[in-house]
């Protein structure tokens, strides 16, 4: 696979503020690449630079080996799906999708076949005469995507397009978008603050923080092996413990959790400042036969029931540290009540310290 997009040492400075700080990455052809970050991290600026709406201060954007310096947005082989979709309200569905093709001065017959194919693909057949203001959220979404895809771009840029949808529809559109991308094979660059969107859909996810990329990896590696403290805390639910002091044989967290060096994996190296344990990595009543599992006791404070996402809020015995533990909804743990004391295990590889 060849690289379709290369970003070379890209920076963007506003007066006294750096929105994008020396970002350097490349995207494989046909991939689904997400940029994940909280609002204000510079991801929208980055996307707008790729689309050509903003000028980079330093660095270069290279698409299919060609530098995009000085090329205006209307001449770039990329199309963008805007956060608020930006459908043209005075046009119907068909006219919206046809707009870009009309600008290319395509023959009517070619245009019609392209539009019909696209309507089929996004499942909007029979809606072409409807006004876009009469459509539901999901349908408007599809019109916006169809309007960009019909231009056959090298790269489709998506700026949090699912943000305005309600939860259920968002879950549905996630899967639909992923399937659509697989089917047509266009490279998608998707920016979002919603980690679930990024993890479900992407081949590669870049986590962006303060204008810089913290880590670029597959969703699985990103989740399993975060490279920085920010990624560990940002991607997925996790328990965070700050370390107050440490010496040769024990460490103490800010919440007075005393741990023997020999207990946890962090005993291996130096003086970490913080460590993370994911709620689902914690094992309830662990079997002593499993290797590499450290054990400790907790007291259950409350049960936060949320179906398959149910968690126990607990206090680590002998400290003030709170610990969230995933509670599988099966018969084995039906008897668990508030106030119980549980034996908890955690595998050394699941403790991430920085």
């Amino acid at each position: 696979m060849s690289k379709i997009l290369e970003i070379k040492n890209l920076s963007k400075h506003f007066d006294d503020f750096t929105a994008v700080n020396n970002v350097d990455f490349s995207v494989e052809e046909g991939g689904f690449f997400s940029i994940l970050g909280s609002s204000g991290c510079g991801k929208t600026t980055l996307l707008r630079i790729i689309a050509g709406f903003q000028q980079e201060s330093e660095g270069d954007v290279i698409i299919r080996g060609q530098s995009m310096k000085g090329i205006p947005p209307e001449k770039r082989p990329v199309n963008i799906v805007f956060q608020n979709l930006a459908l043209f309200p005075m046009m119907n569905v068909r006219e919206n999708i046809a707009f870009g093709l009309k600008m290319q001065k395509l023959k009517t017959a070619d245009m019609n076949s392209k539009i019909n194919e696209m309507l089929d693909r996004v499942g909007l057949n029979g809606y072409e005469k409807k006004k876009v203001t009469d459509l539901s959220g999901g349908q408007r979404q599809r019109v916006a995507i169809a309007r960009s895809l019909v231009m056959n771009p090298s790269i489709l840029l998506l700026d949090e397009p699912l943000g305005a949808l309600d939860r259920k529809l968002r879950e549905h559109m996630k899967v639909e978008l992923k399937l659509l991308q697989k089917e047509i094979g266009t490279t998608f660059i998707y920016i979002t603050h919603d980690q679930s969107e990024a993890l479900v859909m992407s081949d590669q996810v870049a986590v962006m923080h303060d204008g810089q990329f913290e880590q670029i990896d597959t969703p699985r590696i990103l989740y399993k092996n975060p490279k920085t403290s920010f990624v560990a805390g940002f991607v997925g639910d996790t328990n965070r413990f700050e370390i107050e002091s440490s010496d040769n044989d024990s460490i103490i967290t800010k919440g007075d959790w005393k741990l023997k060096r020999s207990d946890l994996t962090m005993s291996l190296q130096g003086t970490p400042e913080v460590f993370y344990i994911r709620p689902e990595a914690l094992i309830l009543n662990p079997d002593n036969s499993i290797d590499g599992v450290d054990q400790f006791e907790v007291t259950i404070k409350t049960i936060l029931f949320d179906g398959s996402n149910t968690k126990l809020s607990t206090i680590v015995n002998g400290s003030r540290e709170e610990l969230l533990i995933s509670l599988p909804q099966n018969a084995q743990f039906d008897g668990i009540e508030e106030g119980h004391i549980l034996n908890i295990g955690v595998h050394r590889d699941d403790v991430k310290c920085f």
């Binding site: 205006p72 199309n79 608020n84």
Partner: protein, 288 residues
């Protein structure tokens, strides 16, 4: 529940009564009176009798319907000019300049409204007259020898009409442009549209309701204006409101005047109806 309903009724009537009084006494009764009197002529005995005479008079006297057609044509022309001048202003104020600047510039635009039409019309007379500011300047700088004849022409009349009506195009267009998301322009740009395409295919169609309501207001103001045609256009301006004025106050033929008034009302309503049909706009949308 019943109490609520009763209260609601009293409030409802309290609110509706002033509206009804206004409508009936200021609009319905005078118009009905005028309509009746437009169909009356004095017979040989001095009694009022029913007749189409006033309307027949209009169609048989060439000067009347010539004035009528000129008034309509110039009103449409002034409305178009108002749009051409007002649209860039509205676009600049909403999309280009900062909010603070826009508020200040808007204030400047409003100043002519504060002083009233009569004063602004006299202002233009001072500017455009044979010994006015512009001619004096051109003669003293040696660009021309004889004063340009600007005052009491169609040119000066159109300037006066434009000046007093243009703001009523700027404001509704501004309000539609304000509601337009800039990302629409970016989206069009992203899809390969040139600046001209963006202007004609996105911005103008989007602001059509504002343009239409602005056009209706400007057109009504212009076609029914009396001061600017009379003072800036002079004796030859041939504006239809002058014919009505003459009938009421010069020849004291109120019946003829009433008939002319109704003809003007029908003319302006007819043109607006036609314009709405042609532009595909709906009155309810334009009004909102």
């Amino acid at each position: 529940m019943t109490d609520n309903k009763k209260n609601f009724n009293i409030t409802f009537y309290l609110l509706i009564v002033p509206v009804l009084i206004w409508l009936i006494f200021m609009i319905v009764i005078p118009h009905a009176e005028l309509l009746i009197s437009s169909f009356q002529v004095e017979d040989d005995l001095g009694d009022m009798v029913f007749s189409f005479g006033n309307y027949i008079e209009f169609f048989t006297q060439k000067i009347y319907w010539l004035t009528f057609v000129k008034t309509a044509a110039y009103s449409i022309g002034v409305t178009l000019l108002a749009f051409i001048i007002a649209f860039p202003i509205a676009f600049y104020l909403t999309k280009v300049t900062s909010k603070k600047n826009a508020a200040f510039l808007m204030l400047l635009l409003l100043i002519p409204l504060w002083v009233g039409e009569l004063v602004t019309v006299y202002g233009w007379m001072v500017l455009l007259g044979d010994h006015g500011v512009i001619n004096s300047f051109l003669i003293t700088t040696g660009i021309i020898n004889e004063p340009l004849n600007m005052l009491y022409t169609n040119f000066s009349m159109v300037i006066g009409l434009l000046y007093m009506s243009m703001l009523f195009m700027v404001i509704p267009v501004m309000s539609t442009l304000q509601s337009m998301d800039d990302s629409l322009i970016e989206a069009a740009c992203d899809l390969g549209a040139s600046k001209w395409d963006i202007f004609t295919k996105i911005i103008i169609p989007y602001s059509m309701p504002g343009i239409t309501s602005g056009a209706i207001i400007v057109f009504m103001l212009v076609i029914g204006d009396y001061l600017a045609p009379n003072l800036l256009g002079g004796k030859n301006s041939l504006w239809f409101t002058e014919q009505i004025y003459n009938n009421f106050l010069t020849t004291f033929n109120w019946n003829e005047g009433a008939a002319f008034g109704f003809l003007l009302l029908m003319l302006s309503s007819g043109i607006i109806w036609l314009a709405l049909k042609l532009s595909g706009q709906k009155l309810d949308k334009v009004g909102s």
